[in-house]
């Protein structure tokens, strides 16, 4: 993994010519490839660094590999080749028993919500804290606040099947952020909510980002992208990451 040095930079949105020190990156992908079975790679030669406290949008056509890339980010998938470093540690060399500790530092909003169907909205939201061993007496406050924030405190006891798609999406987002993750990965998080709720959710992501959470959001919504100042955009095209300025691989140091 590259840890320093300089590299000629193309003109673009990132004007700081100094490449980031890889050791400071929260996520580092170095020539990563991913294949499922004997077919060709769905992701090829992916290299980028995600800096702590940054906000990223991941775009690309359907089938470009966004979800596969996110799966590697939230440790659901190991790369077929290349190096993935997370929080400074090589995922390929990481023993399996250490993965849960890393996963607790990552919040995930799934495209298909993945709420546990026999649990209430309250219990779904509380799940990461319970798994982390937070006592019941310490759960009520944060879970209640989160339910209020997503406007579902009246439906706290409802099961996912009785919630609308948008409500399920909000519960999924609340579950992803309640443990204050260091890295938030969201796959089309606003796909099932109305524009107002989309903006509120984006506001939550932005607030978390201001508190230091690195956020990466996969979306098709171009309007969403324009709402966040200083957000960087990653674009996947046919399994390759488009990085014309080199800013993704060699991001500037933040002021």
């Amino acid at each position: 993994m590259r840890t320093g040095g300089t590299r000629p930079r193309a003109a673009g949105v990132m004007t700081d010519a100094r490449p980031a020190r890889a050791g400071g990156a929260m996520v580092e992908f170095d020539n990563v490839g991913l294949r499922y079975g004997p077919d060709g790679e769905v992701l090829r030669d992916i290299s980028f660094n995600l800096q702590p406290g940054s906000f990223y949008f991941l775009t690309g056509a359907s089938g470009a590999g966004k979800t596969s890339l996110l799966r590697m980010l939230y440790l659901a998938q190991r790369p077929s080749r290349g190096i993935v470093r997370l929080f400074g540690e090589d995922l390929g060399a990481m023993p399996r028993h250490r993965l849960p500790g890393f996963r607790r530092r990552i919040g995930v909003v799934f495209q298909d919500f993945r709420l546990i169907p026999h649990l209430s909205a309250r219990d779904n939201i509380a799940l990461p804290l319970r798994i982390a061993g937070v006592g019941e007496e310490d759960l009520a406050g944060p879970v209640g606040e989160m339910l209020s924030w997503i406007g579902l405190d009246e439906r706290a006891g409802a099961r996912p099947a009785t919630l609308s798609g948008g409500e399920q999406q909000r519960v999924a987002i609340a579950r992803a952020v309640i443990a204050r993750p260091q890295l938030l990965v969201a796959d089309e998080p606003t796909g099932n909510v109305d524009p107002d709720m989309a903006m509120r959710l984006l506001g939550l992501f932005e607030a978390l980002n201001r508190l230091g959470t690195t956020v990466i959001v996969a979306t098709h919504d171009i309007h969403l992208i324009s709402r966040i100042d200083n957000a960087q955009m990653m674009r996947l095209e046919k399994g390759r990451l488009s990085d014309p300025t080199g800013a993704l691989r060699y991001p500037p140091n933040r002021a």
């Binding site: 939230y74 440790l75 659901a76 998938q77 190991r78 399996r96 028993h97 993965l99 849960p100 500790g101 996963r103 607790r104 995930v108 993945r114 546990i116 026999h118 649990l119 219990d123 509380a126 799940l127 990461p128 319970r130 798994i131 982390a132 019941e136 579950r175």
Partner: protein
């Protein structure tokens, strides 16, 4: 801990559908058969041992001298001289009345007082119990004694004719033990299939739990607890039915006092083993479930 402790809130991660699947019922049937086979095996083994102990050192000397007075004298002398030998534990003359009563059961005279029966030239019998030790040497010395005291008398070691029966009973006990082993293996296989089926059914939940940071051990404990409880229900049910059957058989058996059947019983050790089997089965099921779950979970990233 056979049934792991899991916080109440965590238990809700699995839907609460107990005794809904076939597992408890299959385990109940297997447990009942296991206990019945084990009881049969223990009873047969004890019976075989009892027969073995009884026949191992017993010898009957059959004196067939034609003259009844000489025959009686030879029998008395043999009993007296045999009892004085260091390798003999005890010796006794079998009374004529005992012989008549035994023959009467076969020849149709209830009390052995049939005149025809009484007219039969019955041999004189001397039962001799040898002490433990070099059985072949003891028999050789006894043969010599018998040849001297009552020439022409036959020495009949009981092991010669009851031995095959004891071996057959012991073989049946081993068969019962084998059945117990097979049914324990079958129960283990049921638990493994149940654990794998549970993982398949709840795969989405498990994947979700993994992705939010649950450890394999946390997930395994959830399923281990559920499977152990379901299995315990089945084992309790199977044990109750088996206990009822065994008590019924025991009640009927209590009237049997004659012959080989009277030697069959479970004894305190047997009952203790039967009581321990269900607890061992629950522990085995929980351990099997745990190992199966952990092995399966390791295959998921």
């Amino acid at each position: 801990m056979i049934i792991p402790r899991v916080p109440v809130q965590h238990r809700r991660l699995l839907p609460d559908r107990r005794l809904s699947g076939p597992t408890p019922w299959v385990i109940a049937i297997l447990m009942m058969l296991t206990l019945l086979a084990a009881a049969a095996g223990i009873g047969l083994a004890r019976s075989a041992n009892a027969i073995g102990d009884a026949i191992a050192g017993r010898v009957t000397v059959q004196i067939v001298t034609a003259n009844p007075v000489t025959r009686a004298r030879q029998a008395a002398t043999l009993r007296r001289e045999a009892a004085a030998q260091p390798y003999v534990h005890s010796a006794r003359n079998v009374e004529q009345s005992e012989l008549l009563a035994t023959l009467g059961q076969w020849l149709g005279s209830a009390d052995g007082d049939d005149p025809v029966l009484k007219s039969l030239p019955l041999p004189a019998l001397v039962d001799i119990d040898l002490v433990g030790g070099d059985r072949a040497g003891q028999l050789a010395r006894l043969d010599a004694l018998v040849d001297r005291v009552a020439p022409g008398a036959r020495v009949i070691p009981h092991a010669e004719w009851l031995g095959p029966v004891a071996r057959l009973i012991r073989s049946l006990a081993w068969v019962a033990g084998g059945l117990v082993l097979l049914m324990i293996l079958a129960s283990g296989a049921v638990v493994i299939m149940t654990a794998r089926a549970a993982l398949g059914t709840h795969y989405a939940t498990i994947e979700m739990l993994h992705l939010i940071g649950a450890t394999d051990r946390q997930i395994a404990r959830l399923f281990q607890r559920r499977i152990a409880i379901d299995t315990a229900y089945g084992i309790a049910l199977g044990t109750a039915v088996a206990a009822a059957i065994l008590l019924l058989i025991g009640w009927q058996w209590s009237d049997v006092t004659a012959g080989l059947a009277a030697t069959a019983s479970l004894g305190p050790g047997g009952w203790a083993l039967l009581l321990a089997l269900p607890l061992l089965a629950i522990a085995l099921a929980a351990l099997t479930a745990r190992q199966t779950l952990l092995a399966a979970l390791k295959k998921i990233l």
